[in-house]
Amino acid sequence: MPRYDGKGVKRRPLRRYGFFIAVAALVGLLLLQTSPRLSEQVQPVRTAASDQLLPMSGPSVMDNVAGRSAKDRRIIALETEVRELSQYKAMALSMAERLEVYESILNMQGEPAGAEVTARIMAEANGPFAQALLANAGRLNGVEEGHYAENQHGLVGRVVQVGRRSSRILKVTDFNSRVPVMGEVTGLRAIMYGGRDGYGRLTDRPEAGEFVPGERIMTSGEGGLFPRGIVVGQVVERGDQPRVELAMEAGQLSYVRLKPSTLIRKPEDEPVTEDVAAELTDGAAE
């Protein structure tokens, strides 16, 4: 039964003002984030909120009551082991390629090893916004911004945000991700970014030549963001353009391995200062 009262009619404009104020405030909030400096201020809030999502990834009360969690934990442990072992396969392939280069160039600087963390993917954003993953390992686990992530098949992405117990990984499928890559057969270098069709696109090619369909694409290690020789995918023809079918998509993205990226020390300024020269001389004398 329709009901009219004077009090409600009076309150209606107030709700309308409230609506417009809410819209204006939210538009303002969005506009504020177009400034890089101000959007940096929002990141800690987002990171803190991501950290709060973690308790949901644990076993539920019902799982504990039904005794499923112990079984699930065992399955997860075994799956982790299988994943780690299958990583050795990919590692062996990339090392063979690397070894070839090492043998031809003597005294080459190797890739520094660092602490690695296996993390579970808690949430995946594949919508229209940044293609990102939320992993349940953060600063407390030794993860730092710039670490790269890979699964048993290949490169997944790069850590762009780290919380205490969580980290956000920008996937290589994202339009804004840039990965220096090279062809395994042709040796051609390029920069890969995520395309709208789910394939990697190759741009900024310094050398003349064409990638061979079917050849594996690996990280070139240039720029130090990723170490050299991580499998990224393989070249496929899409139209007239070579595209990269991403290896990471071959399996589920439930777990990733977070590894530190190559650290390249900044060379000293020219001319070398007296202190550094003396240090080098002392080192040589010792």
């Binding site: 329709p2 009901r3 009219y4 009262d5 009090k7 409600g8 009619v9 309150r11 209606r12 107030l14 709700r15 309308r16 409230g18 609506f19 809410a22 819209v23 939210l26 538009v27 909030l29 969005l30 984030q33 177009t34 959007s39 929002v42 809030v45 987002r46 909120a49 991501s50 999502l53 949901m56 990834s57 993917i121 808690m122 949430a123 995946e124 954003a125 594949n126 919508g127 229209p128 916004f129 940044a130 990102a132 939320l134 956000r168 339009f175 804004n176 709208r196 589920q252 439930s254």
Partner: protein, 184 residues
Amino acid sequence: MKRLSGVSGTIFRRWDEARPGMRLAIGAAVLAAVGLTGLTPNVVLGQTLVWPYAAMVAAAGWGRSGLAFAPMAALVFFGLAQDVTSGAPIGCFALVNVLIFGASAGLNQMFDADRAGDLGTAVPLICIALGFVLVWLIASLSGGHVAKVLPLVTALVITVLFHIITAPLFDLGIRRGQNAGSAL
């Protein structure tokens, strides 16, 4: 069978008798449950499931009862949560939800579209579709490139299916002429 229909009859009767505040609380609980389930890995037979934008359905549904502060606050809250999980700029989904809520309220008031009739069916769908266009627009503007359309189209289809199934849950039960503010 008779007992089952009796139980469902009781549930429907209770729902009809429920006050708007209770209906809002139940709707919000449904939203929270859908949102939290969407965060857990939802892979079936190797295929990742597309999850609906449930808050948009709620916004379109709650909006039919007119503007009110409580649903608006709930929509802003769920929108901000979705911003965090989806990597969207903070405020994006909150804004989209509030705008859908306002559009739904406005269109229903303008065209006198009550719960029945073609217009009553079309208005929420139009609002949801407009919401997705807005999400695509914000994603394109914030990303600096034209955002992918396919994930949004699949999410839109799933959201419309979700709307068809759950629309009665997001009905606050206030008919035109009654005042939402007096109930909420």
